[in-house]
């Protein structure tokens, strides 16, 4: 009885994880520009692989395997945002174009791409419609 419960829990976790991984694959094809594709690729895939590793840890009732799974989950959840941030930063520096429906680009006109410095004088060279949408 309790083994049946364990097996079905493992199966359901595995299926949900695979579904999230499939969603990330759909997102990387269907989304319109680089930044939204980065959003789809990072979050959905790390959550899906985390669920699959959780299913593995539940399947083997073994402390060492569970420790390894938790280690991999922690590592993926720590490194995926760091890698995505570095990629997005490099892409912004390379002036990868955004989708034309993008509403907010807070760095537009505020960031010096040659010297890598950020200026905070709002309103001078920033486009008021795109940079500050909530202030009149």
């Amino acid at each position: 009885m309790i083994e049946d419960l364990q097996h079905w829990t493992v199966a359901i976790l595995l299926l949900i994880g695979a579904l999230f991984i499939f969603i990330s694959g759909v997102g990387i094809v269907r989304l319109p520009d680089f930044y939204t594709r980065l959003h789809a690729a990072t979050k959905a895939s790390s959550f899906g692989s985390g669920l699959i590793l959780l299913a593995v840890a539940l399947h083997f009732v073994d402390a060492w395997t569970a420790i390894k799974c938790v280690l991999i989950i922690l590592f993926v959840f720590l490194t995926a945002p760091v890698g995505a941030h570095m990629l997005g930063r490099a892409a912004y520096f390379l002036r990868i174009p955004m989708w034309q429906g993008t509403l907010v680009d807070e760095l537009k006109g505020q960031y010096d791409l040659e010297r890598h410095t950020l200026s905070s004088d709002s309103g001078q060279d920033a486009d008021p419609e795109t940079a500050k949408p909530d202030q009149p």
Partner: protein, 96 residues
């Protein structure tokens, strides 16, 4: 193949493999098509995470958790390669 593996786990593993293979195909399409270089880097990173998930799910079929070590090393190298490629992109921008 583990003879003691239960029916729902084996079936769920095969269905999960089907989903992950579909995601692989989407990712390869983006890798070939991708209009810019960062798109291709994201696709490569994603392929590494999919391979990690396949390694983890394959331990359920064999009943031997040794593939988790492969997954651990794959997570390490995937992060290193992503960081290296991102730094390369930024360095290239700074030179030009």
């Amino acid at each position: 193949m583990d003879p003691s593996a239960s029916f729902p786990v084996v079936m769920a593993t095969y269905v999960a493999f089907a989903f992950i293979v579909a995601a692989y195909l989407c990712c390869f399409w983006r890798l070939v098509r991708g209009p810019t270089l960062p798109d291709r880097v994201v696709a490569l990173d994603l392929i590494a995470i999919y391979t990690l998930a396949v390694c983890a799910a394959y331990t359920l079929l064999t009943g031997d958790p040794v593939f988790l070590d492969v997954a651990l090393v794959l997570a390490l190298t995937a992060f290193l390669s992503t960081v290296a490629l991102a730094l390369y992109l930024q360095r290239r921008m700074d030179k030009s």
